[in-house]
């Protein structure tokens, strides 16, 4: 299990972690549930949120194609992240200032995986289980165990941003 405060922007690392997939529709639903004071269906504590909606898993396989989606669409939900007590987020592309600030204040990291490498990343998944919001189809929340999952540190806990050059 990784200590995210030891990571620096630009580091290339290989994750062995618990990761939950959640993208647009799941974020919207989670934020509405919190607004309404409802209990969330998943305990995200100590894990990573992965902005991803995989292809369906073929029988006999562990997971389908599972690359990152564009993270910027989830910038508007950044205030939700510290409440989930996660270690960080995984996606692709730049984030806004609110995200940089939230990473610094809450000691979160933003990691990027290679967009369009869904087949390669699928091989780094050792288990995949759909655990919430099944009605959202490919946008449901899946619990993944990843091993040697290649990512780059894009925003570190000091608020350094790889996209600011």
């Amino acid at each position: 299990m990784i200590d995210v405060t030891k990571l620096h922007v630009g580091d290339v690392i290989y994750l062995d972690e618990i990761v939950y997939t959640a993208r647009d529709a799941a974020h919207l639903r989670l934020s509405k549930m919190l607004e309404n004071g409802e209990k969330l269906p998943v305990n995200f504590e100590g894990s990573f949120i992965y902005y991803a909606g995989p292809t369906p898993t073929k029988p006999g396989k562990i997971a389908g194609s599972i690359g990152p989606t564009t993270s910027a669409r989830m910038d508007k939900f950044i205030s939700l992240m510290p409440k989930l007590k996660i270690k960080g987020m995984i996606g692709k592309g730049p984030r806004n200032e609110d995200v940089v600030k939230a990473c610094k204040e809450n000691k979160l990291v933003y990691l990027i995986a290679t967009g369009g490498a869904g087949a390669l990343l699928s091989k780094k998944i050792i288990s995949c289980e759909e655990i919430a919001f099944q009605d959202l189809g490919c946008e449901s929340i899946k619990r993944l165990e990843v091993k040697n999952f290649p990512v780059i540190v894009a925003i570190d806990t000091e608020g350094n941003d790889i996209f600011k050059r």
Binding site: V12, T55, K92, A117, G118, A119
Partner: protein, 276 residues
């Protein structure tokens, strides 16, 4: 008259969807290999290497190369000497249903307002052009949203000229940055009117159109050079390979107008061409 029937169209569209999602086309593969050789930065090389490895895994392990298996766009060119025994929508949409179910592709199509999934990835988006001859040609493009979302159209002031067009294109590419899965491809429509301009951009991209005259050819080279000087690079982390190719289609327009549409495509540039 050449007879083309329902199953000829459906079976070929199913195969085109399969090939485009599992077997990265030679054109895109070569562009990626060239880009890797051309890059100096280690990070850029590493990312392109991952994309090449990804393409191999996709084919060998039958895993879609990208989880976003797109909304299917078909550009159909129907010869006047072809006789069909069906409409065009039925076999194409039936092919989409079959391919997305049987090959475990992601069904990514929803009602725009309720956001409820159509559950079979239909409807496909179909654009038909009637042409001379006895051929039916279909360009099948399962287009993902990461790049499509970053596309833009603008009605420019006609006096801005070619440099104004280049500035707009650069602005669109900068705004897309690392979001659109660079290294990207650009389809650019110039002229026509509002909706035709967007179609020109899509057609240019899907058919990988060659410049039709010297002015367009020079504009293409200028755009490629200036966009690749932006240092966006693979995944937006810097490098020379921001854009791998530019395709431009132009059409006369009104004296008061200069519509320009920029359709962005990701590094996979998934397109399969069917000729019947």
């Amino acid at each position: 008259m050449k007879e083309i029937n329902y199953s000829d169209i459906k079976n070929n569209v199913v195969k085109a969807i399969y090939d485009s999602c599992f077997n990265l086309n030679e054109y895109s593969l070569n562009k990626l290999r060239e880009a890797k050789d051309n890059e100096d930065k280690e990070m850029a090389k590493t990312i392109i290497s991952q994309l090449l490895e990804n393409a191999e895994i996709a084919t060998n392990d039958e895993i879609p190369m990208c989880q976003d298996t797109g909304i299917v766009t078909c550009l159909v060119y129907l010869g006047i000497d072809v006789r069909l025994n069906c409409d065009l929508e039925t076999p194409i949409n039936d092919a989409v249903k079959e391919a997305y179910e049987n090959y475990y592709l992601r069904k990514s199509v929803v009602d725009p307002l309720t956001r409820i999934n159509t559950k079979d990835n239909t409807p496909a988006i179909i654009h038909t052009t009637i042409v001379e001859g006895d051929k039916l040609t279909i360009y099948v493009v399962p287009k993902g949203a990461g790049s499509e979302n970053m596309s833009q159209i603008k009605m420019l002031n006609p006096t801005v000229g070619e440099n104004g067009i280049v500035e707009f294109v650069k602005d669109v590419v900068k705004q897309a940055g690392g979001k659109a899965c660079p290294p990207i491809y650009l389809g650019i429509g110039i002229g026509g009117n509002f909706e035709t301009c967007a179609m020109l951009a899509k057609k240019a991209l899907a058919t990988r159109v060659e410049p039709k005259n010297e002015t367009i050819s020079n504009l293409k080279n200028q755009i490629l050079e200036e966009v690749n000087s932006l240092d966006i690079g693979p995944m937006g982390l810097g490098g020379k390979s921001t854009c791998l190719d530019v395709f431009i289609e132009a059409l006369p327009c009104h004296i008061a107008s200069l519509p320009v549409a920029v359709n962005i495509q990701c590094h996979a540039n998934r397109v399969e061409k069917i000729e019947l």
